[in-house]
């Protein structure tokens, strides 16, 4: 394992080269999910449930099948009855039957927009026409959307086989409560009773969508012998292979998934919605089938992040020591359990040393699309409540909010949620950097307020495979199994180039398909640069050892007399006066020294390190209209070490703006009969360019000692602090505490004018 190189020695890592896949992306040549075509290709379309909750009595597809140009029709019956339970794909396991129902419903539909049947035809317009000819008989059932309404005794029950887990004794009556999850230590009740001040409140957030601009798309072609190929955009081609094979009952080796470019994912593309359907349609028609979701279908049928209600009480002494905390949080997880409360419970108090705490989480199903991961899934909702409560305590104590956090923030060696001690975390350094940042002391104008908030995420390691091979001209190819969402090809090439001692242009990265590289977990959990980067570094180090061995052979010296630097082998034997051998010299003679030089390494690191963020937000509130305008924003981010600083800054800026959207205007809105009322970018209001100032970033580098380049995960933390940073800044500007997101103008105006 290569040791952690010192920063001054680095020649490529830390610089800002142009990314190797950049030219195709700025010229429109890059091929995304919907850009790929095959000869003889059919177009698929899906019939979706108009009801939020109903039993499917019958599906009659005869008229559709009779329409000229229709080549195949599919329903859930086309999925084999597979007793797979749960498979270890995606993030924390995927339930095969439920994943299948999200592709094609079985006996019941649980949310408006759930797929019921699918058609493949010779043109998109014929497919759309055929879908309208499918007749489905429903028994409409009462529905429920809100989390507390769904928990009530008299609420309509979605799944009659769902019995709440995590209760002292398992109930006999089915309900919408999936599980109760508790984590407790010490005596929080006593600590709160003795506290000098308490920050408390009921904080609520709404379901929000990842908002990737590229709708899901794929092409599937099933051959005559049952083997199949899938071309699609996703966060993990191996995940697509595992879930699709499980749902359609195929051998993994028969299914090859070729990753196309992905137009944004943020956790939303860590599962499948189309591939199993297109596969069945292709098998039935014998022709490739292309399926592309419309924007409306993305909103109605792909997993949003859950809404949540968090009741929080945090007690502190008058000199600002947090002594006790009691939280209860209810997560609205949608039709099937998806992104639930566990990560919310785990992350709620993770920034702080609080001796006494009890955190109870509930997962509750309701008739909206099943939730799925959205960037640090479930942590923003619970840390929002905690960071607002702490802001409240700081105000009650008249204490600087950063100083209050510095008094209680976790340090290396403190116990983490799991009980294992924190490693070289950098929360203190991040807080200090925020306090010294010029933004924190800048003057404010009228109706303006400054809010700060901290946040953290556990990050992930996981399985990754990388291959490095040397070409005869001394250039190198780096292959990994991780789709490149935000510039990871560049960082893979940079790490390989650093180890090989080559300039970046001599090292070209590719993202390999599932039959061309060893298993790799998907791109997500802020893991790619950390785990896949380690596999790349180890593979490159192995190649360097091989190169040194070949040089020794060419010189006829012992291999321990050879040293490698700047892409050259040098002989350290004092008796020898041998000119160095460049990588090209060695590579051009491989046929005489033992054959091609390449190495494939697989890793499964368990030591991903937690990272922290501290954000500073200035907002201006129009007291007459309730409009909130973000006038200045700074994201201070703990990064371990930045491989390509532009893209690390990009993660901080993009995450901050998604958090700002979550805080200000984004929310799923349902009408009276449980239909999504804003399934489009007009009324699902994501931030536009004119809504925002520049997002200043400050990267705090404290390298991870266990990683060859000191890398820590940075992708997800930036979305955590903004919810509270914005809310705290609006409170500072108006003198009123805000508990419910989004802070749309109407809601801020209502709060300022004393309405409920």
């Amino acid at each position: 394992m290569t040791k952690l190189l010192d920063k001054q020695e680095l020649k490529v890592v830390g610089t800002r080269p142009v990314r190797p896949d950049g030219a195709d992306k700025v010229t429109g040549k890059a091929v995304y999910g919907a850009d790929y075509n095959l000869p003889g290709m059919l177009r698929g379309a899906i019939l979706r449930s108009p009801h939020a909750h109903a039993r499917i009595l019958s599906i009659d597809t005869r008229k559709a099948e009779a329409l000229p140009g229709v080549k195949a029709v599919a329903t859930n019956a086309d999925f084999p009855k597979v007793d797979m339970g749960e498979i270890d794909a995606g993030e924390a396991g995927i339930n095969v039957d439920r994943a299948g129902q999200m592709c094609l419903a079985r006996e019941k539909v649980f949310y408006e927009g759930q797929p019921v049947a699918a058609v493949a035809a010779t043109s998109a317009s014929i497919a759309a026409e055929a879908v309208r000819l499918i007749e489905v008989e429903y028994e409409v059932l009462p529905h429920v959307i809100g989390v507390e309404e769904a928990m009530r005794e008299d609420a309509p029950v979605l799944h009659d086989d769902m019995f709440t887990e995590g209760l002292p004794e398992t109930p006999t009556k089915p309900s919408n409560v999936v599980l109760r999850f508790e984590s407790a230590k010490g005596d929080p009740d006593a600590a709160l009773a003795a506290a000098d001040v308490v920050g408390s409140g009921r904080y609520s957030t709404q379901p929000v969508h990842q908002g990737y601009i590229e709708p899901q798309a794929c092409i599937v072609s099933v051959g005559g012998d049952g083997q199949a190929q899938i071309w699609c955009s996703s966060q993990g081609q191996f995940m697509v292979r595992s879930v699709t094979a499980a749902i359609t009952g195929m051998n993994l080796a028969d299914l090859r998934v070729v990753p196309l470019e992905i137009g944004g994912g943020f956790g939303g593309k860590t599962t499948v919605y189309l591939e199993p359907v297109a596969l069945v349609l292709s098998k039935k028609s014998g022709r490739p089938v292309k399926m592309v979701l419309s924007r409306e279908e993305v909103f109605r049928s792909t997993g949003p992040g859950p809404g949540a209600i968090v009741d929080v009480q945090i007690g502190a002494t008058k000199d600002g020591i947090l002594t006790g905390a009691i939280l209860e949080m209810k997560y609205q997880v949608g039709a099937f359990p998806g992104a639930g409360c566990q990560a919310g419970v785990m992350h709620a108090l993770g920034c702080y040393r609080i001796a006494n705490s009890r955190i109870v989480g509930w997962d509750v199903v309701s008739n909206m699309p099943s939730t799925h991961a959205y960037r640090a899934p479930s942590a923003p909702q619970s840390e929002f409540a905690v960071e607002c409560a702490i802001d409240d305590i700081a105000r009650q104590l008249g204490m600087d909010p950063i100083e209050l956090r510095e008094k209680n923030g976790v340090k290396p060696g403190d116990p983490s949620f799991s009980g294992a001690p924190y490693g070289d975390i950098a929360f203190m350094e991040t807080l200090a950097a925020a306090k010294e940042h010029p933004h924190y002391a800048a003057p404010l104008g009228p109706n303006q307020g400054r809010g700060i908030a901290a946040g953290w995420w556990v990050n992930h390691g996981g399985e990754s495979t990388a291959m490095v091979s040397i070409n005869e001209d001394g250039s190198a190819v780096v292959a990994t199994g991780n789709p490149d969402i935000g510039g990871s090809r560049a960082s893979m090439a940079m790490m390989a180039a650093e180890v090989l001692g080559l300039p970046i242009e001599k090292v070209r990265p590719i993202v390999a398909d599932t039959s061309s590289i060893g298993f790799s977990m998907l791109t997500g959990g802020s893991r790619t640069t950390f785990a896949t980067g380690r596999a790349v570094s180890e593979a490159a180090a192995d190649v360097v050892e091989q190169l040194k061995g070949r040089a020794a052979m060419i010189w006829g010296v012992e291999s321990d007399k050879v040293e490698w630097s700047d892409g050259q082998a040098r002989c350290t034997d004092p008796q020898q006066d041998l000119p160095p051998l460049s990588i090209k010299d060695i590579a051009s003679k491989t046929s005489k020294t033992g054959g091609p030089i390449a190495a494939e390494k697989s890793v499964n690191p368990g030591d991903a390190m937690q990272t922290f963020g501290v954000h500073i937000c200035d907002s201006e509130v129009d007291p007459e209209t309730g409009h909130v305008r973000i006038v200045r924003y700074t994201a201070v981010q703990d990064v371990g070490r930045a491989i390509h600083p532009s893209y690390v800054e990009g993660q901080a800026q993009g995450g901050a703006v998604q958090g700002i959207g979550w805080a200000l205007n984004e929310a799923y809105m349902f009408d009276a009969n449980g239909r999504l009322d804003n399934p489009g970018f007009l009324d699902y209001r994501m931030p536009v360019a004119s809504d925002l100032p520049m997002i200043d970033t400050l990267l705090v580098e404290k390298p991870h000692p266990g990683h060859p380049f000191g890398v820590k995960g940075v992708g997800e933390v930036p979305i955590v602090p903004p919810l509270a940073a914005v809310a705290n800044s609006v409170s500072a500007a108006t003198g009123k505490r805000f508990y419910d997101l989004p802070l749309s103008p109407a809601r801020v105006h209502a709060a300022l004018n004393g309405a409920a």
Binding site: G22, K25, V26, I213, E261, G650, Q653, P687, S690
Partner: protein, 162 residues
């Protein structure tokens, strides 16, 4: 459904195709002419990923009927680089890292080009309001705005008398 014959000029070259009357210009470019650089993010004019320049005007090609392009000039992302040399905006986007997933990038670049063709020295605010029709979910817009302003400055230098 009888298809209509449409003849246009795309990126300076004549381009003819057959399409149904309700086919959008975006789908004609992508499915009939195989030019998949312009993207569909919403199909309702709310995201700008399908931006093209039609007879000198920046438009959403998903909200234009393909038949309306008869006899008109269409400029798409595929035509932005000249003789294989990237346009200064394309160059600058790569230099500063103004794209991550890259899906909105074609639409943003076409819109930025339309802006600089009209106003070679836009302020940050003018640039932000001009690009408000181009949604981006990855970058938070910061590096996009910086790239457009820097490219504008360089283009002004080039044009300024030596």
């Amino acid at each position: 459904m009888k298809k209509q014959y449409v003849s246009t000029i795309v990126n300076g070259d004549p381009a003819d195709f057959l399409c149904e009357p309700q086919t959008s210009l975006l789908n004609a470019l992508r499915d009939e002419l195989g030019m998949t650089g312009s993207k569909e993010g919403c199909g309702s004019g709310d995201c700008g990923a399908c931006s093209v320049i039609l007879d000198g005007k920046l438009v959403c090609s998903c909200l234009v009927l393909a038949t309306e392009a008869e006899g008109k000039r269409v400029e798409t992302i595929e035509g932005m680089a000249q003789e294989g040399r990237l346009h200064p905006l394309q160059e600058k986007f790569l230099d500063v890292g103004a794209l991550q997933c890259g899906f909105c990038t074609p639409g943003v670049l076409i819109a930025a080009k339309a802006l600089l063709d009209r106003n070679p020295d836009p302020s940050e605010e003018e640039t932000r309001y001009w690009l408000a029709g181009n949604l981006c979910r990855c970058t938070g817009y910061d590096k996009i705005i910086r790239a457009v302003l820097e490219a504008a400055a360089e283009l002004r230098q080039e044009r300024a008398p030596a």
